[in-house]
């Protein structure tokens, strides 16, 4: 074959055209257009010796290893097979045009002259994707694994959402390792659900909602993950993690029960092997705000200020004590107490207790002492003592109009301090009594 230079269009003629072509000739011209194009050929002039079955002179067109036709004669002749206005189109980018002549051109002893042919060819775009659209039986190996896009002179492939085109430009693989869901509710499903999921998946679906909220999962029907009767999820499996803690591994056809994850962070890991025909899974997730348990006092002396009917994340409560009591946490005395509802639904501090204030041992009085006027030895809130001086040698210093009983009475106050109504924290003083000898001089003799 004589190749023509690769052009997007051109002419092919018989030798010597438009003069009569020579006898005893056999030439083949190969028309080639760029890859991605096909060849379209049309005869503009056609004048060959007519014969039955184009036995003597003819033009044969072939492409794609197939003969598209054998032509001779001219328009209107009773013999032959002229191409007329027919368009010949190759499937590939090549077309062969074979021109054959025999030893003579006579008709009833008269030499005849035939001009030959003039054909025009042009490159027309090949829709490579057309075959993709045909049935599977015809194209067992489509050009693209998912989607085919034709353009003038070529085509390219793309993938359905959730897949990524691989370097071969043909195949699509799932990229589902970083799927993130942040809406307060939504649906998550395996790829192609409810159609069978792809093989070799390593999917990670992350649900992240605001702190203080918990995620609920509700699986829908159908639920179908490759399973084995004896071995737990050997092929494909769906793992669920709440706050990094594994809360289940699922496969089979039994839909998991509704899950309350008690977490604002859930990860669904879905692994599949290279085979299988299960339809996958789908779930509906919802969120609700986390509530802390209602605070309860541990004793009757603790007061929760402004008690609410319910507490949720970031809510807090303050506790105080009834008068004469103080907050204690273990052995530690607290000046104040606030507990905050945490994002996991727990209080950040345990409820304290209220312990009665203890004024401790009363200060000892120099040259005197004290007696309990309430229960002996009890020094807690509202306990009372009475200071006294060692009479007759000492006497309590009193204010004008005040008695020793008044001035010596001290009460354990709500502040945990022994206090006298008049003197406050200051304890009484015992002053020496002067000029009162126990055994004064007595003169009997007169």
């Amino acid at each position: 074959a004589t190749p023509l230079s690769q052009e997007l269009f051109g002419e092919v003629t018989s030798p010597l055209y438009p003069k009569p072509y020579p006898n005893n000739l056999e030439t083949t011209t190969m028309i080639t257009v760029p890859t991605g194009y096909r060849v379209k050929l049309v005869f503009w002039q056609f004048d060959l010796e007519p014969s039955e079955g184009c036995f003597y002179d003819y033009v044969k067109i072939s492409a794609d290893k197939k003969t598209l036709g054998r032509f001779c004669g001219q328009l209107g002749s009773p013999l032959g097979n002229p191409p007329g206005k027919r368009e010949f189109v190759s499937e590939g980018n090549k077309m062969l045009l074979t021109f054959h002549t025999d030893f003579s051109n006579e008709e009833n002893g008269t030499v005849m002259f035939y001009k030959g042919f003039l054909a025009y060819y042009q490159a027309v775009d090949l829709d490579e994707c057309a075959s993709q659209r045909n049935t599977v039986e015809e194209n067992p190996q489509p050009l693209c694994q998912h989607l085919c896009h034709n353009y003038v002179g070529g085509y390219f492939c793309s993938c359905r959402p959730g897949y990524e085109l691989q370097k071969d430009g043909y195949s699509c693989q799932v990229e589902c390792s970083r799927e993130l869901y942040t809406e307060p509710s939504g649906y998550v499903s395996s790829l192609e659900y409810p159609q069978p999921y792809p093989p070799d998946l390593r999917c990670n679906y992350s649900i992240r909602v605001e702190r203080g909220h918990t995620i609920h999962l509700k699986f829908l029907e159908p639920f179908e993950i490759d399973d084995h009767q004896q071995v737990h999820c050997p092929y494909d499996q769906l793992q669920i993690y709440a706050n990094g803690r594994n809360i289940g591994e699922f496969c089979g056809k039994q839909r998991p029960t509704d899950l309350d994850t008690s977490s604002n962070s859930v990860d669904l890991l879905f692994f599949t092997d290279e085979s299988g025909d299960s339809r996958g899974w789908k779930l509906h997730y919802t969120t609700s705000i986390i509530k802390c348990p209602q605070p309860k006092t541990l004793d009757e002396f603790t007061i929760i200020q402004n008690l609410q009917s319910q507490y949720q994340f970031r809510d807090y409560f303050i506790t105080t004590c009834k008068q004469g009591y103080q907050l204690v946490e273990g052995d530690q005395v607290l000046l104040s107490f606030t507990a905050v509802c945490q994002d996991d639904g727990t209080w950040h501090r345990a409820m304290p207790r209220c312990k009665i204030k203890d004024c401790g041992q009363p200060r000892s009085l120099r040259n005197g002492g004290f007696n309990y006027t309430t229960t002996k030895g009890v020094t807690t809130y509202q306990a009372r003592i009475q200071y006294y001086c060692n009479e007759p040698y000492y006497k309590m210093k009193t204010r004008d109009g005040s008695s020793e009983a008044e001035q010596g009475t001290y009460t354990c106050t709500a502040q945990g301090i022994w206090k006298n109504e008049q003197e406050g924290e200051k304890i009484p003083r015992c002053l020496p009594v002067c000029g009162k000898p126990v055994h004064p001089v007595v003169e009997k003799q007169r």
């Binding site: 020496p432 009594v433 002067c434 000898p437 055994h439 004064p440 001089v441």
Partner: protein, 241 residues
């Protein structure tokens, strides 16, 4: 004490025994102060040793026994500013206070005496008072507390008696005299600093004078620092103790 009697336990629970330049007396005020005569600490006509310590004993009538009870250390000595050590014949301002290092615990044998609050009749002629001390008794130093009951003497009588003795000693308004030349009852050396105690109408014993000076013992009158005139000074020193 001349012409007196041995005291019994608890008769004079304010009585102190001091010792610096010899035996002296004193009286407990409150539970931390000893009232005494200035000349027991800074005697006249005698070199004073400022570094020498003073011993104070309290709470008994037997010298040996109260010494066994232990000395009461003195924190501070306060001499009345009018006292003149170098004027041998002038016992003006013969009063001093000793502040003890530690308060004492009062009891039947250790009690303070009161101070006079006003003139009343304490300094009138014939008002009887008691003077106690561990001083000389009939030329002999006693080991047992003794006391004598003395009347306050008439001022003019004492002045006349002093003139009769050819004495040039000062008998000021800050002093009073007590005793009876005929009775041979008197305080004597070693009693100085002790108090002239009288029993008030309310039964309280009040110190009206401090044993100060005299000419001989038991031969006439004894002269005492008139405490009423120094009460303000005492209270100021004691800061209302």
């Amino acid at each position: 004490i001349i012409g007196g009697k041995a005291a019994k336990e608890g008769n004079f629970p304010w009585q102190a025994l001091s010792n610096k330049y010899g035996r002296g007396g004193g009286a407990l005020l409150g539970d931390r102060w000893i009232l005494t005569a200035a000349h027991t600490l800074y005697p006249k006509e005698q070199d004073s040793h400022t570094n020498s310590s003073i011993d104070v004993f309290l709470g008994g009538i037997i010298v040996e026994e109260i010494e066994k009870l232990g000395n009461h250390p003195v924190r501070r000595v306060s001499i009345h500013p009018s006292y003149r050590k170098d004027e041998a014949h002038n016992f003006e301002g013969d009063i001093a206070l000793l502040e003890l290092e530690h308060s004492v615990t009062l009891g039947p044998n250790l009690l303070p005496i009161c101070l006079p609050e006003n003139e009343t009749t304490f300094y009138e002629k014939g008002h009887m008072g008691y003077v106690s001390g561990f001083g000389i008794t009939e030329n002999k130093l006693t080991d047992h507390l003794r006391y004598v009951r003395l009347p306050v003497a008439e001022r003019t009588a004492c002045e006349r008696w002093l003139q009769g003795q050819n004495s040039n000693n000062v008998f000021s308004e800050n002093m009073f005299c007590a005793g009876d030349p005929k009775a041979k009852h008197d305080s004597c050396q070693g009693d100085s600093g002790g108090v002239f105690a009288v029993r008030g109408a309310d039964g309280r014993w009040v110190a009206t004078g401090i044993v100060s000076w005299g000419i001989g013992c038991g031969q006439g009158y004894g002269f005492y620092t008139k405490l009423l005139n120094y009460v303000d000074w005492i209270k100021k020193e004691m800061e209302e103790e």
